[in-house]
């Protein structure tokens, strides 16, 4: 019987040093696919390698043999002994393997739940595998169902809705204050990774200009160059408050850089246009009382972290819904897989009937003497429809019962009833999926 197996490691099972060894070379995935194709025990193969996970997904008739081959493949890719690797690997089979790949695609198995990159990475890996022609009926279907599941999870749950990083949370907030960022100006005070990241997000969302203020003007010039912005000196902040809509502050100053009085004065001149302060600095740069002013909103680092915390909690709640969707899809896939089990039996049933029909027709034709073309034709139609009609009900029955608990029993009974295994031997079991390697191996 064909099995679906998944062997790999992710951020939970393996330390980063190990994952690095396997993921460092971008050609690894192609190499792995090529090697998987060489193994005769593996029918279909798929290889995924990202910075957080390395996984081989394959189908095989001889699961045990295939598993050890894949482990040795991983060892040779990472150039390390199997003892080191063995404890860091997970292995999933059949239903668990299906569930696992669905969860990975839906970003439920990611370090940051709901992050969107993983789906793209799987799609890329899949297009690689199709290019190398290592996937077949089962894995093609499996991966398409994985994409479908991921899409359902994304649209039916809020798993990737809320921001889970401080800089994104700030941008999301800005979106709820301003309708769109076109024509809006950002004032960046000081420098720092988080502040610059927030400014970059805002720029990519359409903010029209960035002004950079710094205690040392030289530094302001450097930072401004990155954003194609305008550098200004620290003393100009007051004047800039009239222009800016979003102020990101991240200085090392011990006191407040922006005071209540200063903002209050500028609001009148701004004709009350809303002003949003993102205060990432510790100690804070913006006096908390500034938030009491009308049309002014101040969020400090703790506020933003609080939002992120809530959002992470929300994602986890949404993940529960997502798991339910995954479970549904797993069941659906299994049902399809079971109908696949019926296919070989149906094919051999039809082949057998056809063989009998031909043999009997040949015998009869020799005793019937000369027949006209229309007569021959009607004889052909007669025999064909007899065999078809006799087989019709059993075939329908087998298809219907494919995903029922007794499906396999019915299948066995049918094979014995029609003596399908005696004549055609093992070959029948592999059915309609023609695989050159497979037949070479058998004969």
């Amino acid at each position: 019987m064909i099995r679906i197996v998944n062997i790999g490691m992710n951020h939970e099972t393996a330390p980063v040093e190990l994952r690095e060894c396997l993921a460092k070379d971008p050609d690894h995935a192609d190499k792995a696919l090529a090697m998987m194709r060489e193994f005769s025990c593996i029918k279909e193969g798929f290889f995924l390698s990202t910075c957080n996970r390395v996984e081989a997904l394959f189908t095989s008739e001889q699961a045990e043999e295939a598993k050890s081959s894949v482990v040795s493949l991983l060892c040779s890719l990472g150039e390390m002994p199997s003892e080191t690797l063995g404890s860091s690997l997970f292995t999933y089979e059949d239903r668990d393997a299906v569930r696992h790949i669905f969860r990975v695609a839906s970003s439920l198995d990611s370090m940051v739940i709901g992050e969107p990159q993983i789906l793209g990475q799987i799609k890329e890996a899949y297009s690689n595998a199709t290019k190398e022609k290592t996937t077949g009926v089962i894995l093609n279907r499996l991966l398409h169902r994985a994409f479908h599941t991921a899409k359902r999870v994304r649209t039916e749950t809020g798993i990737s809705d809320a921001a889970v990083s401080v800089s994104y949370a700030a941008v999301e907030l800005a979106k709820k204050i301003f309708y769109d960022f076109k024509g809006k100006k950002v004032l960046l005070i000081g420098a720092g990774e988080m502040a610059e990241l927030a400014a970059r997000h805002l720029l990519s969302q359409g903010v029209s200009a960035v002004t950079v203020a710094n205690r040392t003007f030289q530094k302001a010039v450097e930072v401004a160059r990155e954003f194609k912005g305008i550098p200004v000196s620290f003393e100009e902040i007051g004047a800039q408050l009239l222009e800016a809509d979003i102020v990101i502050s991240s200085t090392a100053a011990p006191g407040y850089v922006i005071t209540h009085g200063q903002v209050k004065g500028s609001m009148k001149k701004r004709r009350n246009r809303p002003l949003f302060f993102i205060d990432i600095a510790v100690p804070r740069d913006v006096e908390p009382a500034v938030n009491d002013l009308e049309n002014v909103y101040v969020y400090d680092i703790d506020d933003l972290k609080g939002i992120v915390q809530v959002n992470i909690g929300q994602r986890q709640e949404e993940a529960v819904k997502a798991e339910r969707i995954v479970e549904e899809e797993v069941i659906r896939f299994e049902r399809w897989l079971k109908t696949l089990e019926v296919v070989p039996t149906i094919v051999s049933l039809k082949e057998k009937a056809e063989a009998i029909r031909r043999a009997e027709l040949k015998k009869s034709l020799s005793s019937l003497g000369e027949l006209s073309a229309p007569q021959l034709e009607s004889l052909e139609t007669l025999t064909l429809s007899i065999t078809e009609k006799i087989l019709n009900d059993p075939i329908l029955f087998l298809k219907q019962k494919a995903d029922r608990p007794l499906g396999r029993t019915y299948l066995d009974t049918a094979r014995r009833l029609f003596c399908l295994d005696r004549e055609n031997g093992d070959e029948v079991e592999h059915g309609s999926e023609q695989d050159d390697r497979e037949s070479e191996e058998k004969h």
Binding site: K176, I177, F178, N272, P274, I307
Partner: protein, 279 residues
């Protein structure tokens, strides 16, 4: 016939309201599309109903409280649909549809009154006066609704308690610009309504202004809105303050409409128009 049209409109608008509320909770686009279609069909039936009444009565159907409430619901929906074309703001429907539905329910609970149409109502000035005044009211109803939405959203952001409505409501800037736009339109129509009203009064009653309670209330509301608009344009009042004031302004307007019509009024009262409002 009229009853049937009205019943259809009421049922469709109630269904649309329910769908809009489901949309607010579940945030599914398909629900929204259903709600919008239901509302559009309901609006069409209501339009037919109002048109039919107009035709049957021969004058604008605003002589009883019952029919003017449904006419008011119609103008609110009309203004909402116009806003929809401009702003494409899906969540606005979840707030506007209930208001229209409430007015319709209120209207349907009132008994039908016999109307005797006095000759002074058979004038083209009546529909012009009523039409502009009611469309103005419709716009002010939108400022009211947008004001409520603004205050909810603003307090969530200000107090840093981002509740479940936070994600569902649009940005502050959007709500403020809806408020602003509706205020300008509402004010324009209201002014037109008052001017045409006084011309009509001169034509029908012989004087432009008669210190009728409704006129006084409307004038108060008009002055109030004029101040708000001026502050907005000249000083740059916006946000919370403007939202609060538009709530207040609308309440004055409702008082002018309901209060003056029912208890205080002189010739603007439904009693004196020939209809008996609910006995």
């Amino acid at each position: 016939m009229a009853l049937l049209l009205y019943a259809f409109a009421l049922i469709l608008i109630l269904l649309a309201t329910a769908a809009f509320i489901v949309y607010l909770v579940r945030q599914q686009k398909s629900t929204y599309h259903w709600a919008y279609r239901l509302l559009l069909t309901g609006f069409a039936f209501l339009t037919l109903f109002v048109g039919y009444e107009y035709y049957a009565l021969g004058v604008a159907p605003v002589l009883t409280l019952k029919s003017s409430l449904s006419f008011f619901a119609w103008t609110i929906l009309l203004v909402y649909l116009l806003f929809h074309l401009k702003f494409r703001l899906m969540v606005l429907g979840s707030f506007v549809a209930p208001v229209a539905a409430c007015l319709l329910i209120l209207s349907s609970t009132l008994p039908t009154a016999e109307v005797t149409v006095k000759p002074i109502f058979r004038s083209l000035w009546l529909p012009v006066h009523i039409g502009t005044a009611f469309v103005g009211n419709g716009f002010f109803a939108v400022t009211f609704v947008a004001g409520i939405m603004y205050l909810i959203q603003e307090s969530q952001i200000k107090k840093k308690r981002l509740g479940s409505l936070y994600a569902r409501l649009p940005s502050l800037e959007t709500l403020d610009s809806i408020n602003h736009f509706a205020l300008i339109c509402g004010f324009t129509f209201m002014t037109a309504g008052m001017i045409t009203g006084s011309i009509y009064a001169q034509y029908a009653l012989g004087s432009y202004w008669r210190w009728d309670p409704k006129e006084v209330c409307s004038l108060l509301a008009w002055v109030f809105y004029a101040v708000l608009l001026h502050e907005r344009l000249a000083v740059g009042w916006r946000g919370r303050r403007a939202a609060l004031l538009s709530l207040f302004g609308f309440l004055v307007l409702v008082l002018a409409f309901a209060g003056a019509n029912l208890w205080l009024s002189d010739y603007h009262s439904f009693k004196n128009m020939g209809g008996r409002p609910g006995g």
